[in-house]
Symmetry: C2
Subunit: 343 residues, 2 copies
């Protein structure tokens, strides 16, 4: 039985995993989930990416929006608003709240996130082993320029306009916000000047993560955000090294198709780390020290040579996750490329 | 403006307070609420009596059951059950959950219960100043005989039947359960051998409690449970003494009408402290050192003399809280008796 390790963020990772399970139902799949976008809301520990994977594979996901629970209601949220307790920009539903209540209760009782995740999965039976990247607290923060908040969102001009306190060239108007605030509240409408996985440098991989990587037959990077999803997982010391040292094929799928993210706003955070929003640039960012193979969409076939020139085997195949069968075919292509580079 | 202090439990206290507000809408009412039946459920701090007062006076109560929110749904509870997380015997609704989430978040941030209660009341505007009896943790526990749980509930025979571990005469089958477990899960179906307000002896009255008592013109004991509601409040060192020293009329209303509690199961816990379930016995239990006046129901008019003989002025008036007007009339009778004993 093939042992596959997948580094997953939220929606893109979860949908890819559903395709992977359909493609190779008997494979032994371990998912290393991003926890950098975890957030405490209303005193509760919320793990958006882990939950998106769990709900998607467990049949509880809201299919249209890609996150949150199906058949959801918002009574608790309305009541919290009636108490004047925010934030109101994060849409937790009643069913979702129960997950966070159970998680928080277990963590308050002393269980690490990995044990809590396993307990939650006992209900959802996702058909994969879902591990948080770490049991330690890591929070992805985004450095923004508050002056831009006053201007029309998204114009990117930023700083230097002279108003606001201080008046230095943007330096003292910089503010770090939680990734969720940047992503959900601000909808990535201002420039991300830096993306910092706070706490990552001292985090340890969760129990099982390094073993799963060492024992893997193949390691996959789904079309998740290369900065705030896969990048954050790789920022946990030991994980990048374990992947590089595993001696097995490492194949990724581009989240960028035709110079734009398939889902989400990956381009906003790619610019923060100085990476172009192209399929080839993302592969080059990961680099041949990490990646053996890279799938780009057929519309980006022209960039395959640039990826190959960087020492990464590249194939152009359809990468739009339109339904489970199309996604399963992407997974098959990734596994075929893994076999090819591993031969 | 008359300053009234009321020591209140849950349903009985809350309904009486609604009548009191109707009777003297301009009075300055401070409610000292019982917190001995507070409980942590699902990691959240639940204060049943404070919430019952707050919801009842704030217009959010489920009128039929007397506790919990009107127009309630139970999605969170169903989801918790789907996770296998209990207890299932405590019926928290979605709207109610929001209250406990806000409370727990504030307490985790370091706010005392009194400050949290004030914040919650900013929404509900109960028209009274609602104070918890203490900011310290007090939990009413009930000592039961586990052997009785195996027999038909409520037969009260208990112990000595020889089965079960140990075999001593009941002694090692005694178990302390949280009051809510005794009241809600077991429905007081086994004998209460003792009622212990754990933590009360080292608790301090919450800020404002002693001042309100010292400044009161009249102090009322509504028809709340004399053991686990009013009794628990009086168990906080300093409160009983402050009431006795206030030098103002202290008038109570019997929660027992015709030898049975009007609401709830007060008889079950009265027997644990060796007090008969009669209107007169409860007055004698409080005693003339605390009580100046006592209202019994007209059906108990025959017991008024026994109360008077104990040094407590007694009147027999209708004590069934059938609607706000009947309850307002009870409040008027209590205030009239206070005026009489204070003259």
């Amino acid at each position: 039985m093939e042992r596959i390790v997948v580094l997953a963020g939220g929606i893109g990772g979860a949908r890819f995993l559903r395709g992977l399970k359909a493609a190779v139902p008997d494979a032994d799949v371990t998912v290393v989930g991003n926890t950098g976008d975890d957030i405490h809301l209303f005193g509760l520990k919320v793990c958006p990416d882990l939950d998106t994977v769990m709900y998607t594979l467990g049949g509880g996901i809201n299919e249209e929006q890609g996150w949150g629970r199906a058949d959801e209601s918002f009574t608790v949220k309305e009541e919290l608003a009636a108490y004047g307790v925010g934030p109101e920009w994060f849409g937790l539903g009643d069913r979702d709240f129960a997950t966070h209540i159970v998680r928080t209760q277990m963590m308050s009782a002393g269980y690490p996130l990995s044990a809590v995740t396993e307990a939650l999965c006992a209900r959802w039976q996702p058909g994969v082993r879902l591990l948080p990247m770490t049991d330690d607290r890591v929070e992805t923060h985004v450095l923004i320029d508050t002056a831009e908040l006053d201007e029309s969102p998204g114009n990117g001009a930023g700083g230097g306009s002279g108003h606001g306190p201080g008046g230095g060239p943007g330096g003292d108007r910089r503010k770090a916000v939680h990734f969720q605030e940047y992503w959900v509240r601000l909808r990535a409408s201002v420039e991300a000047h830096a993306v910092v996985p706070v706490g990552a440098e001292s985090a340890k991989p969760a129990p099982g993560v390094l073993d799963a990587i060492a024992d893997a037959d193949v390691i996959l990077f789904p079309p998740s955000n290369p900065v705030v999803s896969v990048g954050t997982i790789l920022a946990v010391p030991g994980i990048r090294e374990a992947i590089a040292d595993a001696g097995v094929p490492v194949v990724g799928l581009s989240p960028i198709v035709g110079d734009a993210p398939v889902h989400g706003m990956a381009d906003k955070v790619l610019s923060a780390i100085g990476v172009e929003s192209t399929a080839a640039a993302v592969a080059q960012h990961y680099g041949s020290g990490l990646l053996d193979g890279w799938l780009v969409d057929t519309v980006d076939a022209g960039s395959a040579q640039a990826v190959e020139d960087a020492g990464i085997r590249c194939r152009a195949v359809p990468l739009m996750m339109n339904g489970t069968e199309a996604t399963a075919q992407m997974a098959r292509e990734a596994l075929a490329l893994a076999e090819e580079v591993g031969a």
